[in-house]
């Protein structure tokens, strides 16, 4: 659906002529004339207004009854009054009614001081109460989930939380029980309200009925300061405001950005801040002393790292991931490439190497879709990614598009997706068969190739693939956005580009591809040059280095002496944990920036620098749609943590003889954060001229700036798709699919509030396979292939495709990365001998 054109209309409010966009609700329109109309239930983010609280009644000339301003769109020539006796009378009445059962326990209420009910009572109430009857009283506060407390006395039944659960996150767990004055908010049969987005209801609640249990009583609004920054725990890069008191982050709130997050946050983003202040966090440098890591001074740590790296010159592999900023990535690759003379840098830790021209073609400005495009597209194809796990906030955006704007959704994934229910069409293919599937789709869209044969290779239903091609490809059907996950693999990308070419996505304004990278700043890291075959700005490099997988293999074989790990744990994030364990054990030097010690670091790290949390970082990150956003430090560094860009700069100074300090002709090591940014911007042609001021609080898409012309164009295509390798068709054995849950993250494991959500290995099995194998739901099972195996808990899923099992990835240990990728697995009940 194309974005509607906005017309400006003029109407009169309280005798003032006001101009506002046509169709906005009166409540919003009135703001253009500096008139505030009080509301409780109105929240445009929640969809259609319900007009339930009746707080916003206004008088409109020509209409006898008072109207709700939240549901009346402004019209040309409308005459509105908000200050007449009648309106005031109605407002007074509603406030009085709302307070009939609202306890006045503001002093102990967390909302006190930032409570809309307080404000509105003060501004629009009568100031007195005539209610002498006893108010209702209930036990309080009660738990609604481990994260949320509910105080039913305070609830004014505005429906916001319930509407969120039903119409935004669509988990439909939170409901109103009973009816009328007896209504109360609750869940089914005392189940807790646990969902990826449940925390948003705390922010939505206009009273103190829903409060955050981790934030409960921690501070009052006048004790705190807000610090705007960007959450970098996943590629969604939601804009957040940190609530800071005494240099501690106490709460994370959304900082509405319609082009990024639409004002929502996932629970990981909302509650994982606790990991920042975890007792287990590393807050000082650690240096190996014999077989132990010991705290050391910065000088010692830096010199130890520099000398170890210097010794390994030419034989250093570096990886970056997680919350690494563009600046850090840029400095790291410069350190490794220029300072240490090695070309082995990568940021795609579980991916395979990707040819440069494909990268350039994929990142081309014309082909990129933005986040709002999802909402206004005609058709959205979700390909090989589960948004709720990989970039949660996009899940809400897709649901919004489908629900409110009639977007047609197609889902093509190996694993059943939570979006299937919203999809017009969904189809399954075998895990790892993206290449074959996309080739089949391209063929179905009219390219040469045998759809049926390719579908057989991909184990997809040819009818469904043809239907998908019809859905996407029909002429004149409007914009198509393809949301694809980095995990589809490099081999599938030529076919993806060809599909995009056939659909003409590059020619359309609101159409395009949107990648969900595997790491939070995946796009930024690559554009900053953190790739084996591309320098900053996707420039060509003289000699391509090793990719992450090759680095692991080389290190394991003793070909690489040093490994540099910036914000990444390859055991968790990589595709082959045993290989990485060997690599870390074999490498003579392992330098890591990490917030928490893992077993492997404890055993093998030479130097561990304390990593900054995103709340302490200064720098920029790049959103998957190309929006550069700015991280600003909200709190000071705990312990002796230092800014990582400065650590990298120090190392660069120490190891490099060619980079004298203060050399203004070549580059110099940055001395301040903004200097680091400037050096990055200078190095990436299509960022040229970008300043931190321009990025500001809302970010800026580089594709929309003039400098985007400097983007190194890739080949136009069509690309050679090649012959897809058939996915293993197991005999009796099962195919292994993997998924990485939103909760499979170190921050979740280290945040006390979120700990209960931390994942342990779960194996999703179809009912047919479960019956064949004699597995019951919840059984402990052993999953294995080749000579490796892990133990997991079986979860029978009615909609899982028979013949395939899905195992958790991204676990600190014991996840899917322990097994051999792409090889059939056998599953047995734990305790029973594993069949070879």
């Amino acid at each position: 659906m194309p974005r509607p054109e906005v017309r400006i209309v003029t109407f009169s409010i309280d005798g003032r002529e006001v101009q506002a966009p046509e169709g906005v609700m009166l409540v919003d329109g009135a703001k253009h004339g500096d008139v505030e109309i009080p509301v409780f239930c109105y929240e445009p983010k929640l969809g259609q207004p319900v007009g339930a609280c009746r707080m916003c009644l206004v008088e409109i000339e020509g209409i006898p009854k008072l109207q709700t301003a939240c549901s009346t769109p402004v019209k040309d020539g409308m005459v509105v009054h908000t200050q007449t006796t009648r309106v005031r009378e109605a407002q007074n009445s509603v406030v009085e009614f709302l307070l009939v059962n609202h306890p006045l326990d503001c002093p102990v209420c967390d909302k006190g001081g930032e409570c809309p009910l307080q404000d509105i009572t003060f501004g629009w109430g009568r100031g007195i109460s005539r209610m002498v009857e006893p108010k209702r009283h209930f036990k309080k506060p009660l738990e609604l989930s481990p994260l949320i407390a509910i105080d039913r006395e305070r609830c004014i039944l505005c429906y916001r939380c319930v509407r969120f659960s039903q119409e935004v996150s669509e988990d439909y767990q939170l409901i109103l029980h009973e009816r009328g004055a007896q209504s109360y908010v609750g869940t089914f049969d005392s189940h807790p309200y646990v969902a990826p987005f449940s925390g948003n209801i705390i922010e939505l609640c206009p009273v103190g009925a829903l409060t955050s249990r981790p934030y409960r009583f921690r501070a009052r609004p006048w004790d705190i300061e807000g610090a705007g920054t960007v959450c970098t725990l996943c590629p969604s890069q939601c804009n957040v405001e940190l609530t800071v008191r005494d240099e501690r982050v106490l709460r994370v709130l959304g900082r509405d950005h319609a082009d990024v997050d639409d004002g929502w946050l996932c629970d990981k983003g909302r509650f994982a801040y606790q990991a920042i202040h975890s007792e287990e966090r590393i807050v000082e440098p650690l240096v190996r002393d014999g077989d132990q890591l010991r705290p050391a001074s910065w000088e010692r740590a830096l010199s130890a790292a520099a000398s170890a790296l210097g010794k390994a010159r030419g034989s250093v592999g570096a990886l970056a991931g997680g919350t690494t900023t563009n600046e850090e990535a840029f400095l790291l690759q410069r350190l490794v490439r220029e300072g240490l003379g090695s070309a082995d840098v990568d940021s795609r830790i579980d991916g395979s190497p990707m040819p440069l021209e494909l990268q350039r073609a994929l990142a081309a400005p014309a082909l990129g879709a933005t986040v709002p495009d999802i909402e206004f597209a005609h058709t959205v194809l979700v390909l090989g990614t589960e948004p709720v796990d990989d970039a949660p906030i996009l899940d809400l955006r897709i649901r919004k598009g489908v629900r409110r704007r009639g977007v047609q959704l197609a889902v093509a994934t190996p694993r059943p997706s939570s979006l299937d229910r919203n999809a017009k069409l969904w189809l399954r293919y075998a895990p790892g068969a993206e290449h074959a599937f996309l080739a089949a789709l391209e063929a179905a869209l009219g390219a040469s190739g045998d759809v049926d044969r390719l579908c057989a290779v991909a184990d997809a239903d040819p009818k469904a693939v043809r239907a998908l091609a019809d859905l996407l490809g029909e002429d004149g059907r409007g914009d198509v956005v393809i949301l694809w996950g980095e995990r589809v693999g490099a081999a599938a990308l030529p076919a993806l580009l060809n599909v995009a070419g056939r659909l003409g996505l590059a020619e359309r304004e609101g159409a395009g591809l949107l990648e969900v990278p595997a790491s939070a700043n995946g796009r930024g890291l690559r554009e900053a040059g953190m790739q084996p075959n591309a320098g900053p700005g996707l420039s060509e490099v003289a000699a391509a280095g090793r990719s992450a997988q090759q680095i692991a293999a080389a290190a394991a074989d003793g070909e690489l002496a040093a490994l540099y790990l910036l914000h990444t744990d390859p055991i968790r994030d990589g595709a082959d944990a045993p290989l990485w364990r060997r690599a870390l054990a074999r490498a003579s030097t392992v330098i890591a920036h990490s917030a928490f010690l893992t077993d492997e670091l404890r055993e093998h790290a030479t130097v561990v620098f304390p990593a900054e949390s995103y709340a302490e970082k200064e720098g920029t990150v790049t959103h998957p749609d190309g929006r550069l956003q700015r991280l600003r430090p909200g709190i000071g560094h705990p312990g002796s943590v230092r800014a990582e860009w400065s650590v990298l700069a120090e190392l660069e100074r120490a190891v490099s003889v060619r980079v004298p300090q203060g050399d203004t002709n070549g580059h110099s090591s940055p001395l301040t954060g903004p200097m680091a940014t400037r050096q990055l911007v200078e190095a990436v042609p299509f960022y040229a001229g970008l300043t931190l001021e321009e990025i500001g609080g809302r970010g800026v898409r580089w594709q929309e700036r003039a400098a985007a012309e400097a983007f190194p164009a890739g080949p136009a295509g069509p690309f050679d798709v090649g012959e897809p390798t058939p996915v293993a068709s197991p005999h009796g054995a099962l195919r292994l699919g993997t998924f990485r849950s939103i909760w499979a993250a170190p921050e979740v494991e280290h945040a006390p509030a979120l700990k209960f959500l931390a994942r342990s290995a779960t194996l999703e099995v179809s009912p047919a396979d479960a019956e064949r194998l004699g597995i019951e739901n919840g059984d402990r099972v052993r999953v294995g292939n080749d000579d490796r195996s892990v133990e997991a808990r079986a979860a029978i899923r009615g909609n899982a495709p028979a013949g395939t099992v899905f195992l958790d990835a991204g676990l600190p240990a014991g996840g899917a990365s322990e097994l051999v990728d792409g090889t059939p697995v056998s599953v047995d009940r734990a305790g029973v001998e594993v069949t070879a």
Partner: protein
Amino acid sequence: MSVARYDHGSRIPGWDDAVDLSKDPASIPDPALTPVPAELRQQIEAAMARYPDFRSAAIPALHAAQELHGWCSPEAIEQVACVMRLTPAYLTAVVGFYDMFESKPVGRNTVYVCTNISCSLRGARELHAAVQQAAGDDPDFNVRAFECLGACDIAPMASVNGAYVGPLELSDAERIVEQLRAGEDVLPEKQLLRRKVADPRASTDAPALFDDEDRA
């Protein structure tokens, strides 16, 4: 499997109850893990087929489940949710909204005594008390004071397992209970279905149109 219940006999918590944090969140029940009686499944699926939007079948489906389970127990709701592919919470919200869905275990014999205005003008509250007393604490009975049942012409009245009877006298209370216990037709002579229209012109055996003596 024993089912933990609250004091009020229900597993459904009320105002004052926190959630049970040991439980998993209640999403749509997985068909592989939720057994549904075949007959109930068939009834629900038939109801879903009748409407352009399957959600419309929520009330008929819950009627059927209540018929089977005696009340809208969590198990009943889970079964309906499983067939309809809705969350159990959705259905719980519906159950809570409507008076005829029981969210607590009740007796099988339902007696709704109308206590709304027209009936209470003619002594319905006393009647309700009488029926309640007659039924005593028999767990087979579900005696409720109900809002207007739409039969003010036979006030005071009651709906006994769906059959309307009235006008009732206090002495009928005992009979209703006895006849229900015996499984008989309840107060056959007072059943609404056998009653003729009051309008004298429509009904041949109604009294004369105007009775002058009665005019004030």
